[in-house]
């Protein structure tokens, strides 16, 4: 019997080894798998490469991981935020390496990894600093930059409901990078607000089919407040 349900975050994150590449879902606070990240900090894995849209907000989640000195490199599109103080301090101290990737290229490169593509040609970034030194090609009169897939050992994502086969649905804009990160990582761990019986999720509405997911962890999660407008 397939049962991908894992009882707690601490058990789930044992899959993360020192030096691992770890994708972490979330856009700002929406979809950030904070409880999995807390467990990862407790687990103690270090020398990590983190792939995520942001480099942490406030003092929880990725921000805490950076504060604890566990992150060697971060691959992201938007590290600088009003409340990214832990990343800012680490970056200014030269304690963290940054690979800055336009947001759509980040998504496309993650998706390419999950889809088994060797590379993509993207128009985004052509002629800019972020394409310096990269191979380019003109196709049908438009200029493209060659970009390579981003793979990961583990993905930590937050979904809304999941079942023991790993099928997932998400909630509102917390979906963001979850589906593509689940595809791109060798081992995808989803924290979910509720584990439901197999068959309870409408197959027409499953967003991430269980084939892309290796572990489902029930977490009674409270939403983290965003920034005041």
């Amino acid at each position: 019997m397939i049962d991908k349900k894992v009882t707690n975050c601490a058990t789930a994150v044992r899959a993360v080894n020192d030096g691992a590449a770890v994708m972490i879902g979330g856009f700002g606070t929406a979809g950030s798998p904070d409880e999995l990240i807390d467990a990862l900090i407790e687990h103690g894995a270090r020398d990590l490469t983190i792939i995520s849209n942001n480099a942490g907000n406030g003092d929880a989640g990725i921000a805490a991981l950076i504060r604890e000195g566990r992150v060697r490199k971060i691959v992201c599109s938007f590290p600088r935020q009003p409340d990214s103080h832990h990343f800012d301090a680490a970056w200014r101290a030269g304690a963290i390496e940054l690979e800055l990737v336009p947001q759509g290229n980040l998504a496309a490169r993650i998706q390419a990894a999950g889809a088994g593509l060797g590379a993509i040609f993207t128009p985004t970034g052509f002629g800019t600093l972020l394409a310096e030194g990269k191979e380019t090609r003109r196709i049908d009169g438009r200029d493209y930059v060659l970009e390579y897939p981003i793979h990961a050992d583990v993905a930590l994502i937050k979904a809304y409901r999941g079942d023991r086969w790993g099928n997932l649905v998400y909630r509102k804009t917390a979906r963001n990078f979850g589906p593509i990160m689940a595809m791109a990582a060798k081992h995808a761990i989803a924290q979910v607000s509720e584990v439901v019986e197999l068959g309870a999720l409408d197959p027409e509405c499953v967003v991430t089919p269980g084939i892309f997911v290796q572990a489902v962890v029930p977490v009674t999660s409270t939403q983290r407040q965003g920034l005041a407008a």
Partner: protein
């Protein structure tokens, strides 16, 4: 120079909104362009997309009604209109890069007369760079507009012959909406479409120092 009559930010937002047609799929960039949403009449079906994964974005919720899993690209709480939808990031950027978004309105540090855009990085060595979706938006939408004050606070023109800040995209901006004029940009250069009330073409040439066509 600074005594030129300028449109207020609200007037400028209303002016951009006039040019957004019924049925358009639109992405409004973070900052000044978000004001445009206030001037899109509810009876005109304009569909707003936000790159973090929603289309059919509605206004901010009442205080206390925020759902922090329903946010916009600026990470502010928003609402979803009836008929709206959620999707993941790869689909979101396919909407842009694939040319499905009709109009994108962005802020800018500098725009060149041929439509080059600089809006992500000041180039200062100690500045932490952050690009987000700016480069995808700039080159992806069918039409990219810039909305900005034409001059910096110290009076320098942000419309330039060549951008000196790091580029976001090349030749991607087709129209500039500013507090002093509306200006079309193309490989042939800048052409003034409309002057703010009380501003003359000579004023504009004097404060920008760039070559400006008319009519």
């Amino acid at each position: 120079m600074n005594d030129l009559p300028r449109l207020t930010r609200q007037q400028l937002a209303a002016r951009v909104a006039q040019d957004i047609p019924e049925g358009a799929y639109v992405n409004l960039g973070i900052g000044l362009p978000t004001l445009i949403a206030n001037y899109l009449p509810p009876e005109k079906d304009v569909i707003l997309q936000s790159e973090n994964g929603l289309i059919g974005m509605g206004p901010a919720p009442a205080p206390g009604e925020e759902d922090w899993e329903l946010i916009n690209a600026g990470k502010q709480a928003v609402t979803l209109r009836t008929g709206g939808a959620f999707f993941h990031h790869a689909d979101s950027f396919a909407m842009m890069r694939g040319g499905h978004i009709d109009i994108c309105v962005l802020g800018a540090f500098q725009v060149s007369v041929t439509g080059d855009l600089a809006n992500w990085h000041t180039g200062e060595p100690d500045a932490i760079p952050a690009v987000g979706g700016a480069m995808d938006l700039a080159i992806g939408a069918k039409r990219t507009f810039v909305m900005m004050d034409l001059l910096t606070r110290s009076g320098e023109s942000k419309l330039v012959e060549h951008c000196t800040y790091p580029l976001t995209g090349i030749g991607c901006v087709s129209r500039l909406y500013s507090d002093l004029a509306v200006i079309d940009l193309s490989p042939a250069g800048a052409r003034v479409v409309e002057l703010a009330p009380g501003v003359t073409i000579d004023d504009l040439r004097r404060v920008t120092g760039v070559t400006l066509g008319e009519g």
